[in-house]
């Protein structure tokens, strides 16, 4: 069996630009990563880092002014960037699914949840209404929504945030996709609900063997659930490693700073070490390392030489001149 049979998603050299007044912003600026079958891959970053844009680029859900200008997104060998619109429609909801951040606005308020969950079943599996209903009820049970019979005909506004997110998960997993992209799935939810939702995602993932791309700014969350984590800054991935390795031996100064600036329950009082300054918006030519202005370990040529991705340890990649200039 080929090694590549094992790879669900391979993103290579992805560049996405977004048109704004007076130019273009490089939302995704050269991103590459691989997700294997059954793996939970975390994409960490703050606002403006490009993590959501990456997800939208993969799903081809970019806003009108956004476009992928370079790179490939190979889903089980098939390039999604160059695929036809019909092919993408066929794949979306069926083989590749996504759940979004705000459960309040991600569900259509005028359709019942039974309707919405059943929609992908009807579309991708050709089920008729009664078949879809049966399967939908099963899905509702599996995501922990009891009283499925009554809930089937309910509308989104009758549910709480946590419940709506469960509905979203049901919708996403209806056709047992190979890849699930979760974009800040629990950011808008309480911590106790968050725990349930993530447990649910893990459980279901184990059942159907899907790979998961988990996107969030919450490093602690990624630490708990991911096998590998990539940290994004200003549209680029600055470090990728297995979770244990990233947390215990972070290499990139940004990763270190991020970990150091988190208030954690075992640290009380004393000073947090924040990252000074603000994250940049990328327009125009990139000169040197995007993090240089804020980097505590900055060197003279960091402003002029753009760091390439290096692999100082096997499986641990970092984009920083501290580790050399050439791979």
């Amino acid at each position: 069996m080929n090694m590549t049979d094992n790879i669900t998603l391979e993103v290579e050299d992805l560049y996405t630009h977004i048109g704004v007044q007076g130019g273009e912003v490089r939302g995704v600026d050269g991103v590459s990563f691989v997700i294997r079958r059954g793996e939970v891959f975390g994409l960490a970053g703050e606002s403006g880092s490009g993590k959501s844009m990456t997800a939208f680029s993969i799903m081809r859900l970019l806003p009108l002014r956004g476009r992928v200008v370079q790179g490939s997104v190979r889903f089980k060998g098939e390039d999604l960037v160059t695929a036809s619109a019909e092919r993408i429609s066929a794949l979306r909801g069926d083989r590749v699914a996504m759940i979004f951040q705000d459960p309040m606005t991600s569900l259509n308020p005028v359709f019942t949840i039974g309707d919405q969950i059943g929609e992908s079943l009807r579309q991708h599996r050709g089920m008729n209404a009664s078949e879809a209903r049966v399967k939908t009820m099963q899905l509702l049970e599996s995501v922990g929504i009891g009283d499925a019979d009554r809930r089937f005909g309910s509308y989104p506004h009758e549910f709480s945030g946590g419940m709506r997110q469960r509905v979203m998960i049901a919708m996403a997993l209806a056709c047992s996709p190979d890849l699930l992209i979760a974009d800040e799935p629990t950011t808008a939810l309480d911590v106790t609900i968050e725990k349930q939702i993530l447990a649910l995602i893990e459980e279901l993932r184990a059942d159907i063997g899907a790979a998961i791309l988990l996107i969030t700014h919450n490093l602690a969350l990624l630490a708990e659930h991911c096998d590998r984590i990539a940290v994004m800054y200003a549209g680029q991935i600055v470090e990728t490693a297995a979770t244990e390795e990233l947390l215990s031996k972070p290499l990139h100064p940004y990763t270190k700073a991020l970990l150091g600036s988190m208030p954690r329950s075992h640290i009380s009082k004393g000073r947090l070490k924040p990252v000074t300054g603000l994250p940049p918006t990328i327009t125009g030519e990139r000169r040197g390392c995007a993090f240089a202005p804020r980097c505590p370990a900055r060197m003279a040529h960091c402003d002029s030489v753009g760091p390439l991705i290096l692999e100082p340890e096997p499986g641990h990649q970092v984009r920083c001149l501290l580790f050399g200039e050439r791979p």
């Binding site: 703050e46 349930q196 924040p274």
Partner: protein, 335 residues
């Protein structure tokens, strides 16, 4: 602050005291003239004391009523019942002018940095409003104080003559803090001050709040759903669930030994990275809160409680204990 110090502070007249505070919201249901009023008891009999120079951390999830409590405390939302005392004086009682002056001693910083500044007012103007409200009228004096405040929150003069939408979330939060400081308050309610900010900015703002407290001798009510944030700043912690305080203790004690089942649930739900970077397993999750199914006259946490007993249905638990108080019948009993 050590536990002993915080207890000493409480022994004197607390700077802010809340006694049996209630806030109800009623929502009309059904047809006009025939429908009923659904009453939501957002704040359901809360009593708190905050000593001078202390930080009380108020923890709770959505629906707990913590934000409502903050607003009712400052009389921004009228209360239904109970008293709010500042330096021993009821804030609502005095004449309009006196109560306004009293109100200025208590300020608030909100969660959403994008909604807390007037989008049509220059940043400097928002802060000047506060200075004028405090009675300053001399222009030179105002400008000079404005400069001081702006510097105190870590911004520069280039941030004064622009509109809020040009600033980032973290910068706006600094402006909000500067505005709060402009009237020389003794007490600040910080309602989820860093929840809407990026991780790296959160640390900056938390450090700023800590510094300002030391510099100006401020007293804080820190409201947050994030136990980590609370831990960082709070001397004393109160846990709120559905409008009631279910546990309160000095911070060290609460974090070392959470007693109420809800507090324990909150702790267990926290994703943890221990300092060695290893994953720490989480505890068992309780089920979704059943909406509206809170038993009348019983414990509000009953539907979700892993330690619920028949007694919990009939009687509402009250806070009992000495320094570490919990509202639960099952505390101290075996599992």
């Amino acid at each position: 602050m050590t536990v002993e110090n915080s207890m000493d502070a409480l022994a004197q007249t607390p700077l802010v005291e809340v006694v049996n505070l209630r806030k109800n919201f009623s929502k009309r249901r059904g047809l006009p003239f025939f429908g009923r009023d659904d009453v939501v008891r957002a704040v359901d009999g809360v009593s708190l004391k905050i000593g001078k120079g202390q930080t009380l951390g108020l923890v709770g999830e959505s629906g707990s009523g913590k934000s409502t409590l903050g607003r009712v405390l400052l009389d921004l939302v009228p209360r239904t019942a109970g008293s709010v005392l500042f330096e021993g004086q009821e804030i609502g009682g005095a004449s309009v002018a006196a109560s306004r002056a009293l109100r200025r001693r208590m300020q608030i910083v909100f969660q959403d940095p994008y909604a807390s500044l007037n989008p049509r007012m220059l940043v400097g103007e928002s802060i000047r409003e506060g200075l004028r409200a405090g009675g300053m009228s001399d222009t030179a004096q105002i400008e000079s104080r404005l400069g001081e405040l702006v510097a105190a929150v870590g911004l520069g003069p280039e941030h004064i003559h622009i509109y809020p939408h040009r600033l980032s979330g973290g910068q706006r939060q600094r402006v909000a803090i500067a505005r709060a400081l402009s009237v020389n308050p003794s007490f600040i309610v910080a309602d989820e001050p860093v929840s809407a900010l990026d991780l790296s900015i959160q640390a900056q703002i938390l450090n700023l709040l800590a510094d300002l407290q030391a510099q100006f001798g401020l007293t804080y009510l820190l409201i947050s759903h994030d136990l980590n944030v609370i831990r960082y700043l709070a001397d004393y912690v109160a846990v709120m669930y559905r409008g009631r305080i279910v546990e309160e203790a000095p911070a060290e004690q609460l974090f070392a030994d959470p007693q109420h089942p809800y507090t324990q649930l909150l702790f267990s739900a926290l994703p943890k990275i221990d300092h060695r970077g290893k994953r720490v397993a989480r505890g068992v999750a309780a089920s979704e809160p059943a909406r509206g199914a809170v038993p009348e006259g019983g414990c509000a946490f009953y539907p979700r409680c892993v330690r619920a007993a028949p007694a919990c249905l009939n009687t509402e638990p009250v806070l009992t204990g000495n320094k570490h108080r919990t509202a639960c019948f099952r505390v101290g009993e075996p599992e």
